[in-house]
């Protein structure tokens, strides 16, 4: 079972995890990861843009690939778009499985893919104005270990 959402408003990891856990009573364990807007020097705000025809479909495909690769009961991918502030949750990934190792690895796999090849464009506002964030080499290196 997959629970994939693109959220234009608040992302509430606590509520989402309570519902995900209730939906998977058969799971022996759930691994979750919350990514937040990193308080980073003088970054005042962050804006995430997406392209509707690609972004959610790409997340659905990632959820399918994650389910196909590990023995999971369920996977959850929730991602914000729009305006965010430092400290705000931006992404929630969770994997429910009979056994923990599948859940840990599946959550990392999904997160590495969301960070490097999901259809999002990000810009940051600092004292000198807005600037688009370029891709990070580290994100692509993280992805390479899954191939």
């Amino acid at each position: 079972m997959k629970d994939v959402r693109l959220l234009h408003g608040d992302l509430s990891p606590g509520n989402a995890m309570t519902a995900f856990s209730a939906a998977h009573p058969e799971a022996g364990g759930i691994v979750s990861f919350v990514g937040k807007v990193r308080p980073d020097g003088d970054v005042e705000a962050l804006e995430l843009r997406h392209y509707a025809p690609l972004t959610l479909a790409g997340m659905q495909q990632l959820a399918e690939a994650t389910l196909a690769r590990w023995r999971l009961d369920g996977v959850l991918l929730h991602h914000r778009t729009g305006a965010l502030k430092p400290g705000d949750p931006i992404v929630l990934v969770a994997a429910a499985a009979r056994h923990r190792r599948d859940a840990f690895e599946a959550a990392q796999f999904a997160m590495d893919h969301l960070k490097s090849d999901a259809w999002f464009w990000k810009r940051e506002k600092r004292a000198d104005g807005w600037r688009w964030v370029e891709p990070r080499g580290q994100d692509h290196a993280d992805l390479a270990r899954w191939t």
């Binding site: 843009r49 392209y51 960070k115 999901a118 990000k122 891709p135 994100d139």
Partner: protein, 80 residues
Amino acid sequence: MGVKLVFLGKLADLAGAPDKDVRGPLDWRGLLDALPGPLGEAARGDTVRLALNGTVLADKAALGAADGDEVALLPPVSGG
């Protein structure tokens, strides 16, 4: 009704707007002709991909859009 061009990420800043309508039919040459200056240069770059009606094209030069179609110009993603 023409072909709708959609500019993502920094391309929207270069275009001065998130989208633009141009007359169809539109091929790769026609697209470049419709994009002045830095925007056209960016579109030519290897890292910018095109999607036609939500499907990413393997080869930009094979673009063939008609009136009513949507062509998105996709710079490298920043990551989630």
